[in-house]
C-alpha cells in the first residue's frame, strides 16, 4: 500500500486537536513502515514521544484503506496498564478509531463487545497480557479475529524480555503468539526504555527481521538531584517544606500504598493540596488524573499505579520518597517531568526502609522451591483437584503466595498445573529446571539493578549521564536546566511536627462480615455473621513497627513486658477523639503473655473512667496466630480457643482491647461470643495493626 503522507498529517492534527501540529522525529517514519506492511518494528522512544499516536494513526490508515492481499481486521493492542490509557483513547476517538477494551472489570459488557467485534465494528481492541490467559477470551474473541488482525501492537514490550526490569509472566504467552504469527504480519512493539541486552532479547523473541528505531534518551529540561535522609520524619519534613515552594504541580512517588496515603495525609495536614493515588484509589483515579493535568492539585502522592501512559506535558517535578528498584523504573518515573517545559525537578529522596521494601519485592517475585513442593503435594493428594480456598485450608501459605505459585506454574509450557473450572489440577508435566534458572537469573538481575540505584543515590553530579549510560544511550552533548540545587537538610522544627503527626495517626479496623470458607466447625457457625453479632468498626493506634508508635509497641511487648505510660496517654487521647459509646472495657486473653494486655486494658479503663471486666478466657494453648500464614488457617486456629468467663456479662456496649490485630479473626470471634452472651456493641481497639 502506498503511504499517504498528507492523510497521516491530517489525522495527527485531528487527534491532537492542534491544526498546526507536525510529526515528531521518526513518528511519521514508523507509521509509514507499518502502513506499507514492511514487517515488524520495535520502537524505543522515551515516554511522551507519542507512541500511541503512531499506532492509532497506523490503525486508522490500515482500516480505512485496507491494503490488497493483507489482513484488514482490527488491530490488537496489548498493554499492561490499560486503565491509564483513557487520554490516548480519547485522542483515538477524535480520528474515528473505534477502540474497545476487554478487561476483568467490564465482564458484564463482554457479550456486547464480542458481538461488536464479530460485526467488525471495532478498529482496535485493547487488552492486558493477562487476558491472553483467559480461555473465554482466547476461544470466543481471539480465535475469531486473529487470522485477520491488521496490526499487533505490543506496548511496554520490554516486559517480554526476562532480561527486562519488568518481566511479566503473562507476556510469555505473547511471545508464543508472536512467534506463531505469519512472518508478514504487521507488528509494532514499543518501549520507553530498553538497554542493549533487552533489545537483543526482543529481536530474538519477536522475529529475526525486527527493525529497530531508537530515540534519544536525554532530557535537557530535567534537573536531577539525590538526597539521603534515612528517617521517614526527615523526609516528611523535607517534603512539607519544599513541595510548597516548588512552582507548578508534580508527582511524589512512594514504594507502598501505605506510604502514599501517609505522605498525602501529612502534606494535607500542612495545608498542601495533594491527594494519594494508588491501586486502591478505585473510581476516583480518572478524576485525580484530571485534577493533576489541570494543575488543580499541587501533587499526587502515588505508587507506580500512576505510571505508564500518564502524560502531562507541564509536570514540574517528580520527587521520590523512596528509591525505586531499578534505573529503568526511576528513569521512566522521573522522565514524566518536564516534557514540554524548559525546567523541572527530579529529586530522589532515599531512606533507610527502602532496602527492606525492595528486598521484599525481589524475594517475593517467585515462589520458592518449598512453596512449589507444598502446593504440588496438596494437589497430589487430591485427585479431583482443589480450589484456592481448599488449598488454603490445607497448607500454611498465604493466599497471595498460593495464587502466585499457581499462576506462575500454569504459565509454564508445558504447565505442571492447570485450572479446570474453579479447581486446580496437576497435569502429566513436571516443572522444568529452566523455571528455576529463569527465577534465579531474574533475582540476580534485580539485585544488580538495586545496587545500581544505590550508586545513583550517592552521586554528587552527573546524574543524567549516569542514567543514560545505564540504559546504553548516547551521553554526548548532555545539558541541564539552570536550576539551583534544593537544600538537602530538613528544617528541625518541621521534623518535630512530622513526628507529632506520625504519632497522631490511627488506623481503622474494619469488622469482618462473614465466617471463613468452610465455617468454624467448633463454634458451629458459617456463612454470614448476623449484623447483631458482628464487631463494630474499631481503631488501632499504629502499624506494627511503623513510623510513629510502632517501634515502641514492639519494644514494650518483647523487651519490657509492659506497655509504657506514653502509649497509654496516646491511646487515651485517640479513644477520646474517636469517642465510641462504650460503658465498660474488656480484653483478649492470652496464655503466652497473661498480664500484658489485661494490665494495659485495666489502666486504660481507669483513665477513661470505665469499669474493667474479665469477660473472655482462653480454653487452651494454640499456636500463635502470626504463625498461621493465611486467613482460613488463622480462623481455624481461633475456632473454639476463646470462651466466655464465669459470671454475667454486662449488657452495655464494650471496648475490646488487644495489643496486635492481624487477621481480625480473634476479635471477630470475641465480639460474636460477647454479643451472643448479652453484651452491647463491641468496639475493638488495638495498639498495632500488623
Amino acid at each position: 500500500m502506498i503511504f499517504n503522507s498528507s492523510r497521516a498529517l491530517e489525522l495527527l492534527r485531528l487527534s491532537t486537536g492542534n491544526p498546526h501540529a507536525v510529526f515528531r522525529e521518526s513518528q511519521e517514519e514508523a507509521i509509514r513502515f507499518l502502513v506499507e506492511g514492511r514487517g515488524r518494528l520495535l520502537v524505543v522512544q522515551k515516554t511522551g514521544w507519542g507512541k500511541s499516536l503512531v499506532y492509532f494513526i497506523a490503525t486508522k490508515m490500515l482500516r480505512e484503506t485496507p491494503p490488497l492481499a493483507r489482513a484488514n481486521g482490527p488491530a490488537i493492542l496489548v498493554s499492561p496498564l490499560l486503565a491509564l490509557m483513557r487520554n490516548q483513547i480519547q485522542a483515538a476517538e477524535r480520528i474515528g478509531v473505534r477502540a474497545l477494551t476487554i478487561n476483568s472489570e467490564n465482564e458484564d459488557e463482554w457479550d456486547r463487545i464480542e458481538r461488536t467485534i464479530r460485526h467488525d465494528e471495532v478498529d482496535i481492541l485493547l487488552i492486558s497480557p493477562e487476558r491472553l490467559a483467559n480461555e473465554r477470551f482466547r476461544t470466543q474473541v481471539l480465535a475469531r479475529i486473529a487470522s485477520n488482525v491488521s496490526l499487533l501492537v505490543i506496548d511496554e514490550a520490554h516486559c517480554i524480555s526476562d532480561w527486562g526490569h519488568d518481566f511479566r509472566p503473562h507476556y510469555r504467552l505473547l511471545e508464543r503468539i508472536a512467534k506463531a504469527l505469519p512472518q508478514n504480519v504487521c507488528l509494532l512493539a514499543t518501549t520507553a526504555t530498553a538497554n542493549d541486552r533487552v533489545v537483543d532479547d526482543l529481536a530474538n523473541v519477536l522475529g529475526p527481521n525486527l527493525q529497530i528505531q531508537r530515540g534519544d534518551l536525554n532530557r535537557p529540561s530535567l534537573k536531577l538531584q539525590t538526597i539521603y535522609l534515612p528517617a521517614p520524619v526527615d523526609r516528611l519534613a523535607w517534603l512539607a517544606e519544599h513541595v510548597q515552594q516548588l512552582s507548578g504541580s508534580g508527582i511524589i512517588y512512594t514504594l507502598t500504598i501505605r506510604d502514599a496515603v501517609q505522605v498525602a495525609d501529612w502534606l494535607k495536614s500542612r495545608g498542601l493540596n495533594v491527594e494519594a493515588y494508588t491501586s486502591e484509589t478505585g473510581d476516583r483515579r480518572p478524576e485525580l488524573e484530571q485534577a493533576l493535568l489541570e494543575n488543580r492539585v499541587k501533587a499526587l502522592v502515588a505508587t507506580t499505579a500512576l505510571g505508564m501512559g500518564y502524560d502531562k506535558p507541564d509536570l514540574a517535578f517528580v520527587i521520590h520518597y523512596q528509591t525505586p528498584g531499578s534505573v529503568v523504573h526511576y528513569y521512566q518515573q522521573v522522565g514524566r517531568a518536564g516534557r514540554a517545559i524548559h525546567a523541572a525537578y527530579g529529586v530522589l529522596l532515599s531512606g533507610e526502609e527502602e532496602k527492606d521494601i525492595n528486598d521484599y519485592f525481589i524475594e517475593s517475585a517467585f515462589p520458592t522451591r518449598p512453596e512449589v513442593e507444598t502446593v504440588v503435594s496438596a494437589l497430589e493428594n487430591s485427585p479431583d483437584g482443589l480450589s484456592v480456598n481448599d488449598i488454603m485450608a490445607r497448607i500454611n501459605l498465604t493466599k497471595g503466595r498460593i495464587q502466585k505459585t499457581l499462576d506462575l506454574l500454569s504459565l509454564e509450557s508445558p504447565a505442571p498445573v492447570l485450572k479446570l473450572g474453579t479447581r486446580w489440577q496437576l497435569t502429566a508435566a513436571k516443572l522444568s529446571e529452566g523455571f528455576w534458572q529463569r527465577a534465579n537469573r531474574l533475582t540476580e538481575l534485580r539485585r544488580a539493578e538495586q545496587k545500581q540505584m544505590q550508586d545513583y543515590v550517592r552521586l554528587r553530579s552527573g546524574h543524567m549521564e549516569f542514567l543514560i549510560r545505564a540504559l546504553d544511550g548516547n551521553v554526548e552533548n548532555l545539558t541541564q536546566p539552570n536550576l539551583p540545587d534544593l537544600s538537602s537538610a530538613p528544617d528541625q522544627l518541621m521534623v518535630r511536627e512530622a513526628l507529632q503527626f506520625l504519632r497522631r495517626v490511627n488506623l481503622p479496623i474494619e469488622p469482618r462480615l462473614t465466617w471463613p470458607v468452610g465455617g468454624m466447625p467448633v463454634h458451629a457457625v458459617k456463612g454470614k455473621i448476623a449484623p447483631s453479632h458482628q464487631a463494630a468498626p474499631g481503631k488501632a493506634l499504629c502499624t506494627w513497627r511503623g513510623a510513629g508508635w510502632g517501634e515502641l509497641v514492639r519494644k514494650d511487648k518483647f523487651a519490657v513486658g509492659r506497655f509504657d505510660e506514653n502509649l497509654l496517654l496516646a491511646c487515651e487521647r485517640l479513644i477520646r477523639e474517636w469517642n465510641p459509646t462504650v460503658e465498660w472495657v474488656t480484653c483478649i486473653p492470652s496464655l503466652r503473655h497473661p498480664d500484658l494486655v489485661p494490665d494495659f486494658a485495666r489502666r486504660l479503663a481507669e483513665r477513661l473512667g470505665l469499669p474493667f471486666e474479665v469477660a473472655l478466657v482462653k480454653t487452651g494453648d494454640r499456636p500463635e496466630q502470626k504463625t498461621m500464614a493465611n486467613s482460613i488457617l488463622q480462623a481455624r486456629n481461633i475456632d473454639g480457643a476463646l470462651a466466655i468467663a464465669n459470671g454475667p456479662i454486662p449488657s452495655g456496649p464494650v471496648l475490646l482491647v488487644d495489643d496486635m490485630v492481624d487477621s481480625r479473626w480473634t476479635i471477630t470471634v470475641a465480639s460474636w461470643l460477647l454479643r451472643s452472651n448479652g453484651s452491647g456493641k463491641v468496639f475493638p481497639f488495638a495498639l498495632a495493626l500488623t
Binding site: R138, A143, S147, R176, A180, L181, P383, S413, T427, A428
Partner: protein, 242 residues
C-alpha cells in the same frame, strides 16, 4: 515448536477444536495422501505452502482454491490449539517428525495417519509389543482373564498396546500396569481428558504409559473413530526384535 511440515498438515487436516469455532471442511486422509503424492512429484514437502511463494503451477492451482485458502488461513487457530495442547502436556507430530511412530509408516504406508497427538514418552511407541483389542461389554470372568494377559505381557517385558476403552482394553492395560509393565493407549476420543486424569499421571511421568490418538484431543466419542483406531493398535503391536 512445530516443524513447518506439521504446521501445514495440521492446517489442512485437523479440526483444531478451540472453543466453538466452526471449522472449514478439512482434507480427508485420502485427500491428504493425494496432496502429498502431488507434492512428491515435484520433490516438495508440505512446508512449501508457508515458506515459499514460488509453487509449481499444478500445486498453485490447488492451493489457490477457497478451501485450501480457508484451511491455511487458520494460523492463529492453530497457534491457540497448540498452546492449549502444550498446556496439557500433549505433543503433536507429523510424519516427518522424530516423535512420529515409525511403525505407522512401515505398516500403513499411504494410510498412515497424517497427525498423531500424544501424551507421555514417545520412545515407547517404537518398542513394539502385545496388542489387545476387544469388546466394551464383557463379563467379570473375561475381565479377569484379560488382566492376566496384561500381567503376562508385562512379565515378558513386552509393551502392552490397547485402546483405553472400558471392558477388555482397560482390563489388559490395568493388568500390565499393575505388574510394572509399559502401556500404550491408542485412544479414539478425549485425549484431553485422559492427559489430566489423575490415575494416569504417575504412569505418564514415569514413562510407563503413553497415550496417543489421531483425532483432535478435544473430540468426543464416535463409533467410526473407535473402529478406525484398531488398525493403529495392530500397527504398533508387532513383536519384532528391533
Amino acid at each position: 515448536m512445530l516443524s513447518p511440515n506439521t504446521q501445514v498438515t495440521l492446517l489442512l487436516t485437523a479440526p483444531l477444536i478451540t472453543g466453538q469455532i466452526e471449522s472449514p471442511d478439512q482434507l480427508t486422509s485420502r485427500e491428504y495422501t493425494k496432496f502429498r503424492q502431488l507434492l512428491a512429484q515435484f520433490d516438495l514437502e508440505p512446508a512449501v505452502l508457508i515458506s515459499s511463494s514460488d509453487l509449481p503451477h499444478e500445486v498453485r492451482g490447488l492451493v489457490e482454491t477457497d478451501r485450501y485458502q480457508q484451511l491455511l488461513g487458520r494460523r492463529s487457530q492453530l497457534t491457540q490449539a497448540v498452546e492449549f495442547w502444550t498446556s496439557l502436556a500433549i505433543w503433536v507430530a507429523g510424519q516427518t517428525d522424530e516423535q512420529y511412530p515409525k511403525r505407522f509408516i512401515e505398516h500403513m504406508k499411504d494410510h498412515a495417519p497424517p497427525i498423531v497427538y500424544g501424551c507421555g514418552d514417545t520412545e515407547l511407541l517404537n518398542t513394539g509389543g502385545l496388542a489387545v483389542v476387544g469388546s466394551r461389554d464383557v463379563d467379570p470372568e473375561l475381565v479377569e482373564f484379560t488382566e492376566n494377559v496384561g500381567r503376562l505381557g508385562a512379565r515378558a517385558h513386552q509393551t502392552l498396546i490397547s485402546g483405553g476403552a472400558r471392558g477388555i482394553d482397560q482390563a489388559a492395560m490395568r493388568g500390565a500396569a499393575e505388574s510394572g509393565g509399559k502401556v500404550i493407549g491408542v485412544l479414539a476420543d478425549s485425549l484431553e481428558r485422559a492427559a489430566v486424569n489423575r490415575g494416569n499421571r504417575e504412569l505418564l511421568t514415569d514413562s510407563r504409559l503413553t497415550l496417543i490418538t489421531v483425532f483432535d484431543p478435544s473430540a468426543g466419542f464416535n463409533v467410526g473413530h473407535a473402529m478406525q483406531r484398531n488398525r493403529l493398535i495392530y500397527a504398533l503391536g508387532d513383536l519384532r526384535n528391533d
